[in-house]
């Protein structure tokens, strides 16, 4: 199997895992796409760091050809699978009761600042620890 085929298969497995197998349905959530939009920028940066310097070298016969910067497009799909599956399993284990209590969120001072800068709703409800 070429890297191209493996990468496409990886995306398919990831989508089925989220929507059908684990039913976490993260791919249908705004929180996921907002997070992915941030992660993908860093992924492209770090990929470029590694591929432009030749830390990772690809066999031209195993890849399709198009590159984003120096990285084969397949790397974007590989990264998508890894990032999505990491988040999916995090949510799934949380649902199963493994350390589900979320953090307290931003400190009040930071919350005010973020509210001022973003104008968004920074309305994270305070979480209660079981008493």
């Amino acid at each position: 199997m070429t890297y191209t085929a493996a990468a496409l298969l990886g995306v398919a497995v990831t989508v089925v895992l989220d929507l059908v197998v684990l039913r976490t349905r993260l791919l249908t959530r705004k929180a996921f796409w907002a997070s992915y939009a941030i992660v993908v920028v860093f992924q492209l940066l770090t990929n470029e760091w590694l591929t432009s310097r030749g830390v990772v070298l690809y066999d031209e016969a195993a890849i399709w050809g198009p590159r984003i910067g120096h990285a084969p497009v397949e790397d974007l799909l590989f990264g998508f699978g890894l990032v999505v599956q990491s988040m999916v399993w995090w949510v799934w284990w949380g649902r199963r009761g493994v350390q589900p209590v979320p953090g307290p969120g931003p400190s009040p001072a930071l919350r005010r600042l973020a509210g001022r800068l973003g104008g968004g709703r920074v309305t994270r409800p305070a979480t209660r620890r079981p008493s």
Binding site: T46, L50, S86, M87, V88, W89, W92
Partner: protein
């Protein structure tokens, strides 16, 4: 300095995401057991893909740009650490978005408070 090329990228990601834990209070490092399960369920399969792809010759590594430690599977230490650092950064970003925007991700306890705990 050349041998630090790969590890520098990993350190960059760890440093860039650390403020999320410290300032946003997302408690990802603090939930080590849940994080470990993510590494096992998501990181490991992709690391094994990496091992298989390296063996199949899809890609290889310039080990002069790594610390020189080669771990099982023929991957440099940094390549194994990639599958710790990337899942960690992914989960931290998701938790940070949730913390700042208040959007749900699907593991929220029931509204009546049942299911909370531990």
């Amino acid at each position: 300095m050349r041998e630090l090329t790969y590890v520098a990228m990993l350190v960059f990601v760890l440093v860039a995401t650390l403020p999320l834990e410290l300032l946003l209070g997302i408690r990802v490092y603090a939930r080590a057991r849940r994080l470990a399960l993510v590494l096992l369920c998501a990181g490991l399969p992709f690391a094994l893909w990496d091992v298989a792809a390296t063996r199949a010759g899809h890609w290889r590594f310039d080990t002069t740009q790594t610390l020189g430690v080669v771990l099982p599977g023929g991957l440099p230490l940094e390549e194994w650490m990639f599958f710790v650092v990337v899942p960690l950064a992914s989960v931290m970003t998701l938790e940070a978005v949730r913390a700042v925007r208040g959007w749900t991700v699907g593991d929220e306890p029931a509204q009546d408070g049942q299911g909370e705990g531990r």
